[in-house]
Amino acid sequence: MNIQLPRADVAERTQAIVGELKGLEGPLLPILHEIQDEFGYVPEECLPVIARELNLSRAEVYGVVTFYHDFREHPAGRHVLKLCRAEACQSMGGDRLAERAKALLGIDFHETTPDGAVTLEPVYCLGLCSCSPSAMLDGEVHGRVDDAELEALVAEARR
């Protein structure tokens, strides 16, 4: 879920998260994960706070945020549907399933439906390669996804 908070609140929450985790060795990734869990994405307003607290430049923090596929610069839809695009799933019709998902949702990968309900994302392997093709809806895994199951997942996400 993404809650849009006023700028000052974002900075305050970020400060608290950084304060909690900065004692770790190599704290930046744990901090960014926590921020994304909190806000649903990594708001730009967080960056100067993190940079100041960790004694890094804003560019360094921005560089890390943008390197990793997981960290979003913008909020996602209320639900995130990830479809595995890797080889094992390809061997079981993953490409066709992806086309079907795009058609059902009317969006491409990395896009969100206009009603803000669903974001569709590719994922390169969920480690469910023995029950391909696989998908993940809001952290719940699904294997041997056929057309009927895909339609059920999309319907669930649309609700």
Binding site: H33, C129, S130, C131
Partner: protein
């Protein structure tokens, strides 16, 4: 006596409905007033039978599967609690041929025990390796691991003992054990299964590595795509710490060792060890040039052992039963067992741990039972997205590091992905380049630019534009990437591309396009 019912919590079982089965079972047991408890175990690795429900009987565990939530009432009616007959009954679990024919050393407990019960772990032979290790000199532990012939199971196949020796001899106030659990290769899930099904074996292996090299801190770097593994692993670490297996005095030995789980953020390249170290340090996951080796200057420039999950999880059995016991399995310079992950278009997908030496053909045609689609097998990709595609004519290749290298392939992390005859190998070659382009860290040019040019060249071949010239160009580009890239991402992407082009030339000769005939 309370009857024990096992329903896996492994992600593959969950993906196929295990949670619903467990809920239905719990409700039904209460409704009928049965005296039974449900244990959420790891997976036995027979994924086509998941969710696999087992019940403990006087004669051993009896399996039922694949079970759906709606099957639960009829299973209980049929006497599930005493192993009664039912159309889904598979007989005794240990007698199922897929499982019976394996040699389970690393995965001995996976699917058998409750993954978060330390008592269960001990009762099934756990901690014996660590108990021996705390009484041994570090150099003797290292010698034992070297003697076992264990090689890095992440893919590179580097002797684990040699790596440990380098760290033991390196000078440093702080040393680290880093477990590479960034299992990003398609067709692999062995690391995930260990973390979800027997996390204590990894903890024990890392503690032994710590004592052997003088490292006091360990990190398990795993993937954000593995939320279940992260949860089980973290819970197990807490339990181990509370029980004194981890902490300031491991098993009361005076050796300090503690560890934690760290989560990546969706970058495939972080499975490369130096990129992983940068990521752990909180930096962009950019590959580092070697030397210096991580064993000399690794995490935060300290001497660091960086090993794959399966390498570390194989150490306890080596310490417990001796180097010779482990070394006696296998062939050539590939000693011990290898957990092969059978995936893709197969009838019997799952995990098959066996001594090195089985042929690819035996694996695909017999153990995997051929394709799920029923069509002929066209190609098998061995070793993940950077592994070669093998045609049927190479099915006699035995599972062995050197034998696969001799056929211009690699066993990698031992995942095999089977494709049936509908596969288009030019499309697979293009995907390999595309994947490399998406995941490249960008540090070296052959990988960053070469992969993008590779996609373009593959598209020209597909469009029938000067196919001969472009095939030569693709081969030349692969040569540059192979020898000019800094790490295995750019360096090994040529394996799937070149193997596809070499073994399936017909897919690289589409009908000439109109515009090319000008």
């Amino acid at each position: 006596m309370t009857v024990k019912i096992y329903i896996p919590r492994d992600a593959a079982a969950l993906a196929l409905g295990a949670e619903k089965v467990a809920t239905a079972m719990a409700e039904e047991l209460v409704a009928r007033g049965h005296n039974a408890m449900i244990i959420r175990n790891g997976s036995r690795g027979m994924h086509w039978l998941e969710p696999l429900v087992e019940v403990e009987t006087a004669e051993g565990r009896v399996a039922y599967g694949p079970v759906k939530a709606r099957d639960v009432p009829s299973l209980i009616d049929a006497g599930l609690l005493s192993g009664g007959a039912h159309p889904l009954c598979l007989g005794k679990t240990e007698e199922i041929p897929f499982l019976k024919n394996q040699t389970r050393l690393t995965f001995a407990r996976c699917g058998v025990t409750d993954p978060v019960s330390l008592d269960d772990y001990r009762a099934h032979g756990g901690l014996r390796g660590l108990e021996k290790a705390v009484a041994m000199q570090p150099a003797v532990i290292v010698a034992e691991v070297t003697e076992s012939g264990l090689r890095g199971r992440g893919g590179a196949g580097f002797p684990t003992g040699i790596k440990w020796k380098t760290v033991l001899e390196a000078q440093g106030a702080q040393k680290y054990i880093v477990c590479n659990a960034d299992e990003g290769d398609s067709g692999t899930f062995a690391d995930r299964m260990i973390m979800e099904g027997d996390p204590f074996v990894l903890i024990e292996g890392m503690a032994i590595a710590g004592i052997a090299t003088g490292a006091t801190k360990g990190y398990v770097y795993t993937r954000s795509e593995y939320p279940h593994a992260i949860a089980v692993m973290s819970e197990a670490i807490e339990i181990a710490r509370a029980a004194g297996v981890l902490g300031p005095s491991v098993l009361g030995s005076g050796h300090a060792f503690d560890m934690e789980v760290r989560t990546g953020a969706g970058a495939y390249v972080c499975g490369e060890e130096t990129s992983l170290l940068n990521s752990l340090e909180g930096k962009r996951g950019i590959v580092r040039a070697k030397p210096p080796l991580p064993a000399h200057k690794g995490l935060f420039d300290c001497p660091t052992v960086i090993n794959n999950v399966i390498s570390l999880a194989s150490v306890p059995v080596i310490l417990d039963k001796g180097a010779g016991f482990y070394r006696d399995f296998g062939m050539g310079r590939s000693r011990g067992t290898i957990p092969i992950q059978i995936a893709g278009n197969v009838k019997h997908g799952g995990l098959y741990e066996t001594a090195f030496g089985l042929t690819l053909g035996e694996l695909v045609d017999e153990i995997a039972g051929g394709t799920a689609s029923g069509r002929a097998v066209k190609a098998v990709q061995v070793g993940g997205p950077l592994g070669a595609y093998f045609p049927r004519s190479l099915f006699a290749t035995p599972f062995d590091y050197e034998a696969f290298a001799a056929k211009d392939g690699l066993i990698g992390h031992a995942g095999i992905v089977v494709f049936d005859e509908t596969a288009d190998m030019l499309k697979q070659a293009r995907f390999a380049m595309e994947f490399c382009a998406v995941e490249s860290c960008g540090k070296c040019t052959p990988c960053r630019i070469g992969s993008i040019r590779g996609v373009e060249v593959a598209d020209k071949i597909a469009a029938g534009i000067e196919p001969q010239k472009n095939r030569e160009l693709l081969a030349d580009l692969c040569n540059t990437m192979k020898f000019g890239s800094l790490c295995a991402l750019g360096g090994f992407t040529p394996y799937p591309v070149m193997s596809a082009m070499t073994h399936f030339p017909e897919d690289f000769s589409p009908a000439p396009a109109v515009e090319a005939a000008e």
